[in-house]
Structure formats: C-alpha cells, structure tokens
Symmetry: C2
Subunit: 226 residues, 2 copies
C-alpha cells in the first residue's frame, strides 16, 4: 500500500535548516496496524503529513498503491485525501465557526453525499465517540478531549482505507482512550490500514508493528510476534 523510499524533509527557517526526516525507507502493506513512537520533535507528524498527502518530501519518493504520489495532479490528490485517507491531526484542526456535526460531516460534503445521509452519519459517528449530545456545540464550547473526539469522528466517517491518527488520545482519560482504541481495533479488524502516532506504550501495544523515530531516522521497526 505505502512505499517510502529515501525520504528527506528539510525545513528552512530564516537561515536555519531543520532536517526533520533523514532518509526514511518504509513499506506498509494493506491491513497493517502500525504504531509510530519517538521523542518530541523526532519527525512523527512530518512523516504523517507526507503519508497523508498533506505535504511533500524534499527528496525521495512516495508510492501509494503503486502510484508515485508526486506524479498525481491536484484533483487526483484531493480525491485520495478525501476518499481514501482519514487524518486525525495532533492539533485537531476543526472549523471554529461550525458545529461538531458540521465538522464531522465535512468529508461527506466533499464526497457529494446528500444532506439527509450526511446528518444521519454524522450523528452516528458522534455517538460512536460518546458525543451524541454535543452535536450542536462549536469547538470553543467543547472540552479538549471532546474536540479531539470530534476530529476522530470526522476522520472515520468516510470509512477510509488508510487511517492516520496523530496522537489521538493525548487529551483523553484512560476510559475514553480505550473506547477510541476499540474503534481503531475494529477498523483494523475490518481490513483497514491504521497508523497511530502515540507516546504511550500501552496504546502502541494495540498495534502489530512498532516504528520508532529518533532525530528524523527510523531506529526501530519491529513486528509483534504473536
């Protein structure tokens, strides 16, 4: 499904250069459940943004289902982002003037579904993350963990074949985290590919494979044997 080859990402900040990813090679098959760990600043979100087609590498290639992502035009990229990939951002990225329900149904708007179907599916998605009674709240009328769950519901609503979750439980208590992980486990059991960035070992334990980054390089890549 995913093939990264010698990926480098270099940011320029004034006269500084930050080498955020240094030669990352990665192969991820369809249906894998992968945890990505590493210190703050080690390049995890940068990697996720490239995988999610939200950013481009400085050098190196990214093949998604065999097709070179850099060859795709804007329409094809947008199509992939909306239909194939679900992204839970580390900083949520909700629309501040829209309600929770409006935020969650956004991917369905892009998919051209009609209003009745969108409302029904948005309501189900919010109920699945325990926010059925918060549908009409705007982000600033929600707690931190509730905003995080709206971001999760939005990422899941299109049943994406690839889910990229960047620290989806960072603001959640353990009970709520477990509910979210059950959803991710279920997604994986139905054949979807799940990548989750996390700082917590017991969350990483749900995945089948662990990739660890350090200073922009992959220093560990092991598959659970059991």
């Amino acid at each position: 499904l995913i093939e990264l080859s010698d990926i480098h990402k270099i940011y320029e900040v004034g006269a500084d250069r930050v080498h955020a990813l240094r030669g990352v090679d990665l192969r991820i098959e369809e249906g894998e459940y992968v945890a990505v760990m590493g210190a703050s600043g080690s390049g995890k979100s940068t990697l996720m943004n490239i995988l999610g087609c939200l950013d481009t590498p400085t050098t190196g290639s990214y093949r998604l289902k065999g097709r070179l992502v850099s060859d795709l035009d804007d329409d094809a990229l947008a199509g992939i982002r909306n239909r194939e990939i679900g992204f839970v951002f580390q900083t949520f990225n909700l629309l501040p003037r829209s309600t929770a329900a409006q935020n969650v149904e956004l991917p369905l708007v892009y998919a051209g579904r009609d209003a009745g179907e969108r409302e029904r599916r948005a309501r189900e998605a919010l109920e699945a993350v325990g926010l059925g009674d918060r549908a009409k709240h705007r982000p600033n009328e929600l707690s931190g963990g509730q905003r995080q769950r709206v971001a999760i519901a939005r990422a899941l609503i299109n049943h994406p074949s690839l889910l990229l979750a960047d620290e989806p439980t960072g603001n959640l208590d353990s009970t709520t985290s477990e509910e979210i992980l059950r959803i991710l486990d279920g997604l994986h059991e139905r054949g979807h590919t799940v990548l989750i960035v996390t700082h917590e070992e017991d969350i990483a334990a749900h995945a089948h494979r662990l990739i660890r980054l350090h200073d922009g390089a992959v220093v560990e890549d092991r598959t659970a044997t059991a």
Copy 2:
C-alpha cells in the same frame, strides 16, 4: 491561598444548558502540589479557568489569598493574572505570528521588564525545556510537543506563586515529560503552589494530593500519606 465555595458553572448553548461544575468546594493552601483528574468533559478545564481568573463562576465564591475575586476590578485582576498566576493551556494558546522567544517573554512585557532582561530570561526558559535551538521558530514551525513546551516555558517565566497546568504533558514522550515534571517538582520544592490537570496516573503520583472530578462534582479528594 485558594478557597472555592459552592462553585457552579453553567454554559448556555442555544436552548441547552450544560452544568459544567456542580457545587465545587475546595481549599488549597500555599505550597500544595495537587493533581486534578477526571473523565473527558468532567469540568477540569472549567475549574482551572475559574482558578486562573480567566472565567467567572455562575454562582458561588472564589477567594484568592482571602480576597473575593469577584470584588476585584479589571486592573487588579490583570495584575494577579500576570504576576501571580502561570497558566499552561490545554490548547497552548500561542501567538501564531510571534516566535517562540517572543511568546515566552510576553509575561515579562506585561511586567514591564526591559528588552535585555526579557531576551536573556526567555532564552533560559526555552533552554530549560530543551528548546534553546528553536527560539526563532514560530508555532507552525514547531512540533506539537515543542509548542506545548513553549506554553510551559511562558507560564514559568514569571516564577508565578500559583502554576495552573492543564494537561502539560499530553503531547510529550515519556523522557520529555519527565524533564517537565522535574521542573514542576522543583517549582514546588521552592514553595510554589502547583495544580496540574492530567489523565495519567504516574504523573498524578508526583503530586501530594489528588482531586477527582466526575460530571462537574468532586468525587475524591485525598492527600498522599508519606
């Protein structure tokens, strides 16, 4: 230091009413180290915002050092917020067009310190959280955990007598979290009062007292015996 008496907070959202805090009574002495835990949406941030004089209760009273906060005028409140209280927000609340160093020195600007002192202290504060080499980056040029650490450095720079930290390690790996906790422990050892909202038991274990919220009410309030 802190005395909350029968605090209620009710938000109105359209026709709905959310009873976020339901009759909270709390006494916190100077120099205490308190962890606040509870499920997502249980009222922790609402409680912190009231303690930090960023929001007012719907009913009930808040005495800070014996003075009724509702009696203070805007200038007095602003003075307390800038000089006495350090606040690490759950969503960081950094100025997007300012650099990390400019964000960190903001409390010193309000305190009227001159530019030379502000730059020196901002640099030291950033080095203390491991971001000495990120001073000129803006928030969107920082990782999630780096933004969180800028927010922490900004809250600490005035050596506040009361530090309110709302989930300060939610985006940090365990090594970086420990560094931050050592800073908070050190602050406490020097006599400051520290309140930290956290979802993680081993972070709460650093504190001397644990307050647990459930649906806006205090359901547990125990002091460690040792």
